[in-house]
Amino acid sequence: MPVELGAEAEVDLVRRLTGGDETALAELYRAYATLVHGVALRVAVERAAAEDVVQQVFLHAWTHARDFDPGRSRLRSWLAMLAHRRAVDWVRREAAHRRAAAKVEDEFLDVEEAAIDSVVAGRIQAAVAGLPEQHRAPIRMLYFEGRSVREIADHLGVPEGTAKTRLRTARQRLAEQLHGERMVTAE
């Protein structure tokens, strides 16, 4: 698994990207290509689309590094957001093409991005709801209640390492459940 960057390393990397340092772009790619590609593939499903999204996201990071505020979020979150948006844009364009070709009503043609986000969120929340309680609870606490891993461990009465293991297992089960399922259906 690629090694992601710590907070200080992120600040330095963004400074180098802003200065036009190509080695910084390569480092950014090596650290986060799997994350960006994984997000894109889960939304758009098609590999060619996911690869295009990867190119777009990292090129955007290169040309708009100044837009990233390290005080507001982490690089991984910023990149994941960009990947999600680009992938949703792709799905909407595909829907538009299919509608133009087949003159079929398409629920996503004129739907705002916020509504598509709602569909994605709904699919993920449904998958979370389908987890066994011992995996669902830590996921809910970490992502939807904003608790730390330490707080989750205390709440569950388990060691911190056990809490981390349950979270990792929960994410693996979610990934298996969502595998191959397009988050946003645009048939």
Partner: protein, 307 residues
């Protein structure tokens, strides 16, 4: 969605832990796109080009970085054949123009006169200040731009038809690969002259260029077509195995071990040998082929440089 959204965070963690990673390395294309975005070259983006043209774009960008960077302060440095960097670019312009003509593009008068490489190169050298690197670079980039834009927007059906290039029947994609190859060879010459480290093509591109060289061995192979088949094994990133001479099914070796044995060498050395930059009698190689067979194969590779 925004970066702080819990769904974004969960998606990011799912993707980071379970991937999948891209099936191929997208970094070379990304760096090419970044250089285009940063610079003033107005070249097509990789995504707009057919796959066969992308190695050429990448080598054009790499050589441009050299010309505008380390070479800019040393325009009088001898590079190869007694040429300066400007003269090397003039030579590339001449051959790029011949490639463009082979693909059906007009070749402007500024790209030289003559239908042979030597004559066209000489016509450009005669009009060139050997130390005018910016001028030579601007002309070379205009020709590169024209060729790449033709690939991006031109008649794609024409790109599928065989053409005649430097007296050799080739496919249009192979013409572009040849341009990528020669651009890299001369970028290597320039790096060497400036005391810089070598920069081989990315593994995928190196494999593609090696494949071109292996296929073109049919033109220089000295044995009769029914002579012993050898396996050419190239090692390192971009390596692979090819049969020489090609069978009816193509160049790649498959099935039982070839009767003539195997010749093994590094993929980058193979390309340098094919580009006339290594001596076939001195290039490091191993394998179980008879030494005389190995010598003939390496000689055939070196003969590619004289095509």
């Amino acid at each position: 969605m925004n970066p702080d959204d819990p769904i974004t965070g969960l998606l990011a963690d799912l993707a980071a832990e379970t991937g999948p990673a891209p099936a191929r390395d997208l970094l070379p294309d990304l760096l090419a796109a970044a250089r285009l975005a940063s610079g003033h070259l107005a070249l097509p983006a990789p995504v707009d080009l057919p796959p066969a043209a992308r190695p050429y774009l990448r080598q054009v960008l790499a050589l441009t970085a050299l010309v505008e960077g380390p070479a800019a302060d040393r325009p009088a440095t001898p590079v190869v054949n007694g040429w300066t960097a400007a003269q090397v670019l003039a030579h590339l312009t001449a051959v790029d123009a011949l490639a463009a003509q082979a693909l059906g593009l007009p070749a402007p008068a500024e790209t030289g006169t003559g239908v042979e490489v030597q004559a066209r190169t000489d016509s450009l050298l005669a009009a060139l200040d050997p130390t005018d690197l910016p001028g030579a670079a601007a002309l070379w980039r205009r020709q590169c731009n024209a060729l790449l834009r033709f690939c991006a927007t031109g008649d794609q059906a024409r790109m599928q038809r065989p053409v005649r290039y430097l007296g050799i029947p080739l496919s249009a994609p192979d013409v572009l690969l040849d341009r990528a190859f020669e651009t890299w060879i001369h970028a290597e010459d320039l790096r060497r002259a400036l005391g810089l480290e070598a920069e081989p093509p990315a593994a995928d591109d190196l494999h593609t260029l090696s494949d071109l060289g292996a296929r073109l061995l049919d033109l220089t192979w000295p044995e009769p077509a029914d002579g012993p088949v050898l396996a050419l094994e190239l090692t390192g990133p971009g390596g692979g195995v090819w049969s020489v001479p090609r069978g009816a099914t193509g160049a790649r070796a498959s099935g039982p071990a070839p009767a003539g044995g195997t010749v093994v060498l590094d993929a980058v050395d193979f390309c340098r040998l094919a580009g006339g930059r290594l001596d076939p009698d001195a290039v490091p190689h191993t394998g179980d082929a008879h030494p005389e067979q190995a010598r003939r194969l390496l000689g055939a590779v070196a003969a590619l440089a004289r095509l």
